[in-house]
Assembly symmetry: C2
Homo-oligomer: 114 residues x 2
């Protein structure tokens, strides 16, 4: 074991300073990861950007399906994921379902990133 300035060691038997910061609790980490997973998909990111960029920040499935070269059930599936994760709300009006972004949900996500 070779010492330098009496404190720091370059090569030693032990790692020393195995001390690491307290991790995020497993439960917090899982909650945050679940929210991130909902957003970590290219199609869902496109959906969010399209809806938030729409006239009244809402859009129906028809327009979204036309813009994204995917089948309507696939779009519906992604929208459901975003609703379940709290990023969108769904409002059925007549024959159409209108989706709107939940205003501060993404900001909350941003603030929770470590």
């Amino acid at each position: 074991m070779e010492l330098i300035d009496g404190n720091q060691s370059i090569a030693t038997d032990d790692c020393l300073s195995t001390a690491v910061g307290e991790p995020l609790s497993r439960k917090e980490a899982e909650t945050l990861a679940t929210a991130l997973k909902a957003v970590a998909d290219p199609t869902r990111l496109q959906l969010l950007s399209m809806i938030s960029g729409s006239p009244s920040s809402e859009a129906c499935v028809c327009g979204l399906t036309e813009a994204l070269d995917l089948t309507q059930p696939t779009i519906s599936h992604h929208l459901k994921v975003l609703v379940d994760a709290g990023f969108l709300t769904r409002d059925k009006r007549g024959r159409w379902a209108w989706y709107a972004v939940v205003p501060d949900r993404l900001d909350v996500l941003r603030s929770l990133l470590p």
Copy 2:
């Protein structure tokens, strides 16, 4: 087709306002989704929080493995994912590999969220 005030319609054959905002380009969306996927895992979030909370914002695998009830190869795997995605750097010193957080990488991610 029933009209109200000559412009807005409550019930009509067409959705009207199928106009949606321009989506994020597919390529941008995929790049962002790839970065988000790297972070959207509870174990990797815990690793990030532990490393950034460590004395000199760096930690070696030994300490991380002890804290997270997972096998060492699994921790190594997650660390590699984070390095590949640009969230961590790896510095091999002697027998130990020290991982450090890339300072502004998470901020970039935050700013890219739609």
